[in-house]
Amino acid sequence: MRDDDRQPISRMAVHNRWYDLFSRGARDWLRHNQKVRDAVRDHLPDMVTGSDILSRPGDRTVQVPVRFMEHYRFRLRDPHEDDGVGQGNGEPGDVFRTGGQPKRGKGSGEGGSGEGEFQFVLEFKVDDIVDWIWQELELPDLKPKTADALQDDELTPEGWDRRGPRARLDRRRTVKEAVKRRAVQTDPVPFTDDDLRYRQLSRRRRPAMNAVVAFILDVSASMDGNRRKLAKAFFFWATQGLRRQYGNIETVFVAHTNEAWEFSEEEFFQISATGGTVASSGLRSVRDIFAQRYPAAQYNQYVFYASDGDNFADDRDAAEAVALELASEVNFMGLVETPQNRFEAARSETGRLFKSLEARNYPVSSYTVHADEDIWDAIRAFFRRQVDTAESD
C-alpha cells in the first residue's frame, strides 16, 4: 500500500461545460422512432383497414398508438410462479398484491413498473400515408381528363412594370431599384416614382385540377353499422388518393333509401333510415348536383356508391338509365358492395348493373368489401384501374 503514495493524485474537474453538447441519447431515440415509423409503414395495409384510425373526417393527420420497440434477448419462459426475497414485516402466509389497479399517490416503485407500460402516439400525415401507398403500389400519378377538355384561366406572375395598381407594388424590388439609383447619385433622395416596381400578371390557360367526388350511401335498414364502417374506410382512402392528385377537391354526400338527401360530411355517417332501396334515387340526385354545381367541363367527376347490392326489381330500368347517363359523363364510377356474404356479390341487382356497364367499357367498376382486410384490395384495385385507364387514353 505504500506505493500508493507515489501514485499521481486524483483530479477534480469542476467545470466541463462542453458535455452539454452530447446528445446521443436523443439521437438513438430518434433512430428508434424512425424504425417505428418504418415498421408502421410496412404494415400499412393493416393500418389502413383498421378503420378506427379515421378519427374525424377531414383531419389531415391520423394518430397511431405504438409501443416502444423491444430489442429482443434470450429469456426464459415466464414461470407460473417464482421465488424472490423481500424485506420487512411479512409473516409466513401473508399475501401482498401489486399490479392490476395502479397504485395512486406516492409511488412505491414496486411491481408492475416494467418497460412495457409506456406507450406513445405517432402522428402521421395522411398525405404521407397516401404517398407510401403510392410507392408501395408503384403507381404513377393519376391523369386528369384530357387536357383540352378542361381549361381554366390562371394568372401567373410575369416580370415587373413601372406602373400598376397599388396592391401589386413589389416593395423589395422597389427598394432594390432605389438602392441602385442612390449608389450612383450624389446627394440622392430616398425614393422617386421611377423606383416603383409593380408585379405584372399574365393570363394563361391551364388544365383544370378541380375534382368532385360524390359518395352515395345506401342507408336502408339492411346496411348495418359494420357495413357503413367498411364503406367509410373505403371512401376515406379513395378521397385521400384523389386529393393527392387534384389541388382542389369537392365532396358531395348523398344518402338514399327510396328517396335521396344530400348531407354534410359530419352527418353523413350517422344517418339511419328505414325504407327500401331504390338505387336510381341516389344516382339521380348526384346527377342533378353535378349538373348544377360541378359541370363536367370544369370538374373531374368521381362517383362512389356503397350498397349491399339490393335494389327493387321495378327500379331496374330507371337505375340503368341514370347510371348510364352518369357513366358517360364522369371520370369514374365505382360500386363498393358490402354483401351479407361474399358469394352474393356480383349476383346482386346493383352488382349486375355495374358489371354490365363495365363490360360495355364505361369507366365503371365494382368492389366487394366484406371485411376489413378487403378494403386494401379494393383501394388498390381502384387506383390501379385509374392508372390503367389514364395510360390507355
Binding site: 500500500m1 500508493d4 503514495d5 501514485q7 493524485i9 486524483s10 483530479r11 477534480m12 474537474a13 469542476v14 467545470h15 458535455y19 452539454d20 452530447f22 446521443r24 441519447g25 436523443a26 439521437r27 438513438d28 431515440w29 430518434l30 433512430r31 422512432n33 410496412d42 416502444f68 420497440m69 423491444e70 430489442h71 429482443y72 434477448r73 434470450f74 429469456r75 426464459l76 419462459r77 414461470p79 410462479e81 421465488d83 424472490g84 426475497v85 423481500g86 424485506q87 420487512g88 411479512g90 409473516e91 409466513p92 402466509g93 401473508d94 399475501v95 401482498f96 398484491r97 401489486t98 399490479g99 392490476g100 389497479q101 406516492k106 416503485g109 414496486e110 411491481g111 408492475g112 418497460e115
Partner: protein, 470 residues
C-alpha cells in the same frame, strides 16, 4: 435549496474536500488507482447511465432506455449520483447541479468503489484482460462503428449490432478475453481395448502386425458445448466481414468489462456505502451542515424500503451490502474485511457472510410470486429460511442473468445448431422472443440457424428464425 447555501458552499468546494477525503481513505487502509472526477450536467449523466459508458456505439435500443430514464427523471423517480468506471485512472462522473453535500458523499463513495475495483480479484482479472482505459477504448470503438455506418450504411451496421448486443450476456467469462481458436485436428481416440475373439487372437503366438499410424481427425467445431456465442460468431461465422467481426468483439469486450460490476454489485455497492459513511463521519474538516446533509442522503440511498412503506418486495443491494459490511467490520479485523473484499464475489459473499442472525435482523423473507389475472400479482410470504434466502437473492445473478444457450454444432454446410441447457435453467425459453433473437443471428450468420429448447410442457422443441423483418 441551492440558493440557501452561501457561495462558499458551492461544488467548487469539492476541489478542496476531495484530496482530504482521499488522504483519509488511504490512512484508513484503502488503496486505489487515482480517480479523475468530473462534474457533468445531468443530461450527460443520464446518457452515461443509459449507455453504461460515456461514449459508446450508437444503437436504437439505447434510445429507448434513454427515454425511460428521461421520463423517470422528469417524474422525480430517479436521481443519479455518480457513475464510476474502474481503470487506471478511474473515471468518475458527478452531477454538477447536485448539492455540495451530496457530491461530497459521492466522492467518498467513489473512493470505496476505486478501492474495490483495484483489489477485488474478479475486477483485477478483468481489468488486466480488458486494459485499464475502457472509456477511451469504448470511445475509439464507437468511432470505428460510426465509420462503418458511413462505409456500409446504417441498416447493415444496425443488423450486426442488433445481434451482438442481444447476445451481450452470452459470453463465457471463464475462457478469458483473448482465447485461441479451436485446434483444427484432434488426436485420435485410443483404440478401445480388444475384447472377445480379438483379445484371444492377439494372444496367439506369432509376429505382431505393424500398427497402422492412426490418422488424425479433423476436429468438430465446436469441440464441446460453447457458451461464448459472441466469440463463436466472431470467429466462426461463415461469411462475416472484418468490420462485422470487430463489432462482435467490441460488444464482447465491453461485456467482459461489465461482468464484475454485475457479479459484485451487492458487495461493491455495500463496500462503497460503508466507506462513504465512515469516511464522512471521520472527516473532521467538513462543516457540520455538509456532514448532516450528506448523512441524510446516505440514509436515502441505503434505506431498505421505498417511501413510507414498511415492506419491500425487492431487496435494495445498497442496503443489504451496507448492512453486511457493517456487520463484518464489527465482528472481524480490518485485515480480514480487506481479504473478503479481495477474494469474494456476490455468490460467495452472500453464501459465506449473510448469516442467519443478520437476515433475521434485516427481516428478510422468502416469497412466491404468482401472476394473476389482469396484471395483478400476488406475493405469498413463505418463510425466513436462510439457505433459501441466499439462493433466491443469487438466482437472478447466475450466468449474467440470462439463459444458458450454447453452440452445439456447426454443420459442414455452415448451419448453426444452438442448444439450451434446460436442466440448469429449470424451464424452457420464451419461444417468441427467442425466435426474434434467432432472426438477428441469422442475418449475420447467413446460413440456417436453429435452437433446441423445450416448450411449456417440457417437450423438446426446435426453433428456427421467424419470418418477417422485425
Amino acid at each position: 435549496m441551492e440558493h440557501m447555501h452561501g457561495p462558499e458552499m458551492s461544488n467548487e468546494q469539492l476541489a478542496d474536500y476531495a484530496p482530504r477525503i482521499e488522504a483519509l481513505a488511504k490512512e484508513r487502509g484503502l488503496s486505489f488507482y487515482p480517480v479523475d472526477f468530473e462534474l457533468v450536467p445531468n443530461a450527460f449523466m443520464m446518457e452515461v447511465a443509459v449507455y453504461g459508458l460515456p461514449v459508446r456505439m450508437p444503437h436504437w435500443s439505447f434510445g429507448v432506455r434513454y427515454i425511460y430514464q428521461y421520463v423517470q427523471h422528469r417524474m422525480g423517480h430517479s436521481k443519479i449520483f455518480e457513475v464510476v468506471f474502474p481503470g487506471n485512472p478511474n473515471r468518475a462522473y458527478l452531477v454538477d447541479d447536485n448539492a455540495l453535500a451530496e457530491n461530497t458523499l459521492v466522492t467518498a463513495h467513489v473512493l470505496g468503489h476505486a478501492d474495490f475495483s483495484r483489489n477485488n480479484q474478479l475486477f483485477d482479472r478483468m481489468q488486466r484482460e480488458v486494459g485499464y482505459h475502457i472509456v477511451e477504448q469504448a470511445a475509439e470503438r464507437a468511432n470505428r462503428i460510426q465509420a462503418a455506418i458511413e462505409d456500409h450504411g446504417q441498416s447493415r451496421v444496425e443488423a450486426v449490432l442488433d445481434a451482438a448486443l442481444a447476445l451481450e450476456a452470452n459470453v463465457d467469462i471463464n475462457q478469458g478475453l483473448n482465447r485461441p481458436d479451436y485446434p483444427e485436428m484432434r488426436e485420435p481416440r485410443d483404440k478401445p481395448p480388444a475384447q472377445g475373439f480379438q483379445r484371444h487372437y492377439n494372444q496367439l503366438p506369432g509376429e505382431d502386425e505393424a500398427e497402422p499410424l492412426p490418422a488424425r481427425e479433423r476436429a468438430p467445431i465446436p469441440p464441446g458445448p460453447e457458451y461464448d456465442l459472441l466469440w463463436f460468431i466472431a470467429r466462426y461465422a461463415p461469411e462475416l466481414e472484418g468490420w462485422e467481426r470487430d463489432i462482435f468483439l467490441a460488444v464482447r469486450e465491453e461485456s467482459f468489462y461489465f461482468y464484475p460490476v454485475f457479479a459484485c454489485q451487492i458487495m461493491n455497492e455495500g463496500w462503497a456505502s460503508y466507506w462513504h459513511a465512515r469516511l464522512l463521519r471521520e472527516a473532521d474538516f467538513l462543516p457540520n451542515r455538509v456532514y448532516l446533509d450528506a448523512i441524510k442522503t446516505h440514509s436515502d440511498v441505503v434505506r431498505p424500503y421505498a417511501g413510507d412503506d414498511a415492506v419491500s418486495l425487492r431487496v435494495n443491494p445498497y442496503h443489504l451490502g451496507f448492512s453486511m459490511w457493517e456487520r463484518i467490520l464489527k465482528d472481524c479485523s480490518l485485515e480480514e474485511a480487506l481479504a473478503i473484499r479481495r477474494d469474494e464475489d456476490d455468490f460467495s459473499f452472500i453464501r459465506n457472510y449473510l448469516h442467519e442472525d443478520l437476515a433475521k435482523e434485516l427481516r428478510l423473507f422468502n416469497f412466491t410470486r404468482r401472476p394473476g389475472a389482469g396484471g395483478e400479482e400476488r406475493f405469498i410470504v413463505r418463510d425466513r429460511e436462510i439457505d433459501t434466502l441466499r439462493e433466491n437473492i443469487l438466482a437472478p445473478k447466475f450466468n449474467y442473468g440470462g439463459p444458458r444457450i450454447y453452440v452445439k454444432a456447426m454443420g459442414a454446410d455452415g448451419h448453426l445448431e444452438l442448444g439450451h441447457d434446460v436442466e440448469s435453467d429449470g424451464r424452457g425459453l420464451d419461444l417468441a422472443r427467442s425466435r426474434k433473437v434467432l432472426n438477428y443471428i441469422q442475418r449475420v450468420w447467413r446460413r440456417p440457424v436453429q435452437l433446441e429448447t423445450v416448450d411449456h410442457s417440457g417437450d423438446a422443441k426446435v426453433l428456427t428464425p421467424e419470418d418477417g423483418d422485425d
